[in-house]
Symmetry: C2
Subunit: 655 residues, 2 copies
């Protein structure tokens, strides 16, 4: 298996400078064009725009009233009211209309007495010259520069251009970005057949959709071209064709790494030059930057990694800055906020690492819950509220250490979010959806660490509430003992969310005929491969409680140490054949059309510190939980009881 | 002239609540639709989206290497390396490919020794189960909610939808907004003939262009309909037609005020109900909100004021929030910053007032320079960096008082701006344009208060530099005496910008045969109407110096007290026939094709405090000033000398 070596690894900034400098040398840029105003929104002015006409184009009335020559009115006062004959010394005028010649002021209708059925008016005060008059050129004078280059045309700029008579402004041409997806197992989204995906025979291509959207938002003109197999000749041909059709930038995805089938670097080198291969950022490392020559043109080319999260980093670090560079602009910097990670974030020195996080503002501290770092984890993109950058020279960030986080959502969205850390239940996502719909601006951000982890996070002030189903083995009562033990000093209310059926999730038909906990300990041919939940989760507590009660040793269960973090992932492990059984809630089994062997009903509650009980977001959440719609939809998931949902079960006074 | 009374004036928030509540009662909303992913960017999810497939769809390799059953490798160590035969206990695998059945781990190729030409591999460490494996459902499990309602679909959300197999998400339908321009003197932009505009016979209609852009950016579907004359029947017919064609919101512009030709309120009342007429905000007051009934439907209607700045406020306060409300979202709040107005901002109590300002961050204070408040001033929109709101119960803001300013530009753009307050010269706009082009991110914001005002602002630390041409009558030398007098304690450098010709700006052909300052004092039929510059401006100093030198009294000059703030406005006053002559620079006369009678050459310099002399933005500006392009383009404007441009003339040590 041949391995291509990465060139010396550059930081993203170094890599960008090398690429841009070379493009400047080669004088590569998409140029300018004239466009009508109807197509100008969000385009970027490329040269100073001069007004073609003055505005106002005449001396006009700024008020309804009469136009006069101010000098005619200088004698007017309350003691010596002045009568002006309409049509001689005064002329009715409406706002916006031009002054009759010889006039230089307007007296408001409110300050006039009308006499003789409108034939004359009387004023008790003198008008000063140019009073209530919009003078010619007051707003802009023809030939003045009204917009400088580099300005993005927004609604106001459209108004200024139109007002100045500039109906076809000169703007930077939109850079045409050809996105060429490559990979022999890649199929288009529309052609992806379910059975091929499940068998791993096909991978649906959607990076081009994501990249196109990013490029479009940055003022580029993306064009996704046909999928090319892993074949150097085919890749080179696809690049040549895109150049021939006018691409300003070639973007290969993927094949940019250093594996045996990663042809992008060699193809770019063969058609021109590779300037950078490998960038010191995770994810995003296997990026290649260069220039290709075809059809007598030199065109920048980038090879981006195939994993979506890595690919996005490459687009953000190189493609968007190039588009901005061509339009003489800066990439708009995102807002930053100080945050405290809930967990330590280890990192490999030598590489800058970007960790996507969810955020929750608890009291005045913004807590960051890291999302999975896998470069293929698409939900880490759609769920993220922010990004923490761990510097190249750093071994990571400790829990509790303050760091800067780059915001992917607005500050208000983060301020409107309730952070729930604790046990996982499928109804939490439903709560979030209903909360957002009934109270726009509010949302529920959840992180799954199990019931015990949730109580500990709550005690540390890292979240607004927690979801818990901790069985006290001694009393058979849920949550109260654990709250007394772990929340000491923090008065709280215990709100019932749901009763839920726990049981074994097994393949349809229950092929191993599992009936109770004893079956997990079978030996030999009928042995059961179990998939467990993590320590501290309520489900794990339930399992261990039952095993103890029945005198069964965990060591007898195959897979006892194989852990997942959510009910859905337990069900997925069973569905995939990785395990024969797991303990979880019925709704997870129902969702994936698996069988379910109930072992009992448990209580799942929300624990809310008393000091948040009147928080607007909490009140909205309780409203949602108590709504008929929430109960109806929870019931529909299967295995839930909602007769007590929303009831306050207990007030804990902190001792 | 009949006047319709405004209903009791509501605050914008009260007005919004009344309107929205009524629409909720009537159950008016555009509903939902399913759309393909290719059209989904920036659309808003309307109901919880569940994953249709799990991702990954199989257990796949996360690294290149060999797939194994982890349990087979448990004996491997550096002392007891383990040999695995390819095709039996180990299988070559590439990243992303599915594990062969029976395998549950991947060993990276970097950790293997290949033997027998690839027939076997040797590992020195045990693999743990699921090592380097992306497990089925690790990212998302089918049926899980992946996106809640109210979320705007961005690039990441597109990825999540595609990955989940949701190729036609359900989103809120784009509200269709019919914009109906009205006014008998209004013509479309394309049909506006220059001579009609100048005579005030026609007003070009461009509000619809501005409003459409705002509505499009907010996720609406604007449609500008034909211009309607000021006629109640015609207006009602246009509204009915728009409703018949499916409008979700009717927007009349203008005729919403209380004048004799403002038919919008009555037409809306006649077709349904007026809920609000008149809002306590300036500009924006004459807004009307209601509901019309036509074609069996109830449709919200808004009448917006005709002046662009007022109209925009009405769109921001009512139209955009309604679009957001329909999509279960909040209007994204702009960023705020603390700023200090350079001038006092008086305001009328009882009305909230919005003042658009330019901003400059000098040392650590953000200074706000108010732009003209006229509701028709389009450049106050395109030039504004921010908006200061003066509360309803407040009589204004004092100079130096700290206020919150709503940012219309990014913080970085404001940080990159140099603020020059002082004398006006046409070359300043050119400097700004060239600076932006050569140094993206930097810009020059200028405010014109005259040379003396500029020096005073510089001394107060309100700007980064000033432009000055103050003649010392005693010595005939420019600027040095004024700097010694007004900048005491602030060391500075004096950088030459341009020499420029001052003279009389007169109508083409110089019909009054003006030759020198004595001609301004003529009496009788040959008298000259003069347009002056404001006190403190260098040009005014020059005029007064010459009058004194010649023993002429200002009282002999007609129009001596009629003041303008820029050379261009002086030229415009002459062009419009408001005055016969003004004193100004040749370039202003050239720009408007007027005649110019030179009276002398003056020196226009930049004054830069020494403590900014090494500021990156100042260095960039000096680079621009010294460039051949700047000099060439200044020369082309006419009346300028650039032989000393960019030279440091003098270093002032502060005493």
């Amino acid at each position: 298996m041949a391995r291509h070596a990465y060139l010396t690894m550059k930081t993203p900034e170094e890599a960008r400078t090398i690429w841009f400098d070379r493009l400047e040398e080669l004088n590569v840029s998409p140029g300018e064009e004239n466009i009508p105003l109807s197509a100008a929104l969000h385009r970027v002015i490329s040269r100073p725009v001069e007004a073609l006409r003055s505005s106002p184009a005449f001396h006009g009335a700024a008020m309804d009233g009469v136009a006069v020559l101010a000098e005619d009115t200088f004698t007017a006062s309350t003691r010596t009211p002045l009568r002006l004959e309409i049509g001689k010394k005064a002329f009715w005028i409406n706002t916006g209309h031009p002054l009759p010649s010889g006039c230089n002021a307007v007296i408001m209708v409110e300050h006039l007495n009308v006499e003789d059925g409108g034939a004359a008016v009387v004023t008790e005060r003198a008008a000063f010259p140019w009073q209530h008059v919009r003078k010619l050129g007051e707003d802009m004078v023809a030939t003045e520069i009204i917009l400088p280059p580099g300005v993005e045309i927004g609604p106001s700029e459209l108004g200024a251009l139109a007002c100045a008579g500039v109906l076809r402004p000169t703007v930077f041409r939109k850079p045409k970005v050809a996105i060429i997806p490559s990979g022999s197992e890649i199929v288009s989204l529309e052609e992806a057949r379910e059975e091929d995906l499940r068998a791993g025979r096909a991978l649906p291509e959607f990076n081009s959709l994501v990249f196109s959207a990013m490029i479009r938002d940055a003022g580029g003109l993306p064009e996704t071209r046909s999928i090319v197999p892993d074949d150097p000749q085919a890749i080179a041909a696809a690049i040549s064709e895109a150049v021939a059709e006018g691409a300003d930038l070639i973007m290969m995805n993927a094949g940019s790494s250093a594996g045996s089938r990663d042809y992008t670097p060699d193809v770019i080198a063969g058609m021109g030059e590779v300037l950078v291969h490998g960038v010191a950022v995770m994810p995003g490392k296997p990026t290649v930057l260069g220039v290709v020559r075809a059809c007598g043109r030199e065109v920048p080319a980038i090879g981006t990694p195939g994993y979506p999260v890595s690919g996005i980093v490459a687009v953000e670090e190189f493609v968007l800055p190039l588009l901005a560079h061509w339009q003489k602009r800066h990439v708009r910097r995102r807002e930053f906020m100080q945050a405290v990670p809930c967990n330590p974030l280890p990192s490999r020195p030598g590489m800058e690492e970007r960790v996507r996080v969810k955020l929750g503002l608890v009291d005045d501290t913004c807590f960051a819950v890291p999302l999975p770092r896998g470069a293929g984890t698409v939900t880490s993109l759609s769920r993220a509220d922010g990004i923490i950058r761990i510097a190249r020279d750093c071994e990571g960030i400790n829990a509790g250490e303050k760091v800067e986080v780059e915001l992917l959502r607005s500050r208000e969205q983060i301020e409107g979010a309730l952070l729930i850390i604790g046990s996982h239940d499928n109804s939490l996502d439903l709560m979030d959806s209903l909360l957002r719909r009934s109270h726009p601006g509010f949302s529920l951000t959840s992180a799954h660490v199990g019931s015990l982890g949730g109580l500990l996070a709550l005690k540390k002030g890292q979240c607004h509430l927690t979801g818990s189903h901790l069985l006290d083995g001694a009393t058979g009562v849920y949550n109260r003992a654990a709250i007394r033990e772990h929340l000491k000093g923090e008065p709280a209310i215990l709100v019932h969310l749901v009763d839920r059926e726990q049981g074994f999730i097994v393949m349809p038909g229950n092929p191993l005929a599992i009936r109770d906990f004893r079956d997990l300990c079978r030996d030999g041919d009928s042995a059961v491969r179990f998939i467990n939940r993590q320590r501290g989760s309520g489900t794990r507590v339930l399992l261990d409680y039952e095993l103890r009660r029945l005198g069964l040793s965990p060591s007898r269960i195959s897979g006892y140490r194989d852990e997942e973090y959510t009910h859905m992932n337990v069900a997925a492990a069973v569905l995939s054949g990785r395990a024969d059984a797991g303990l979880g809630v019925r709704s997870a089994a129902v969702a994936l059309k698996l069988d379910f062997i109930p072992v009992g009903i448990e209580e799942y509650d929300l624990v809310i510190p008393l000091r948040y009980a009147q928080d607007r977001r909490i009140l909205a959440l309780l409203e949602v939980i108590r709504s008929a719609e929430f109960k109806r939809r929870v019931d529909a998931m299967g295995g839930y009881g909602t007769s007590r949902t929303g009831n306050i079960l207990w007030e804990y006074h902190g001792n």
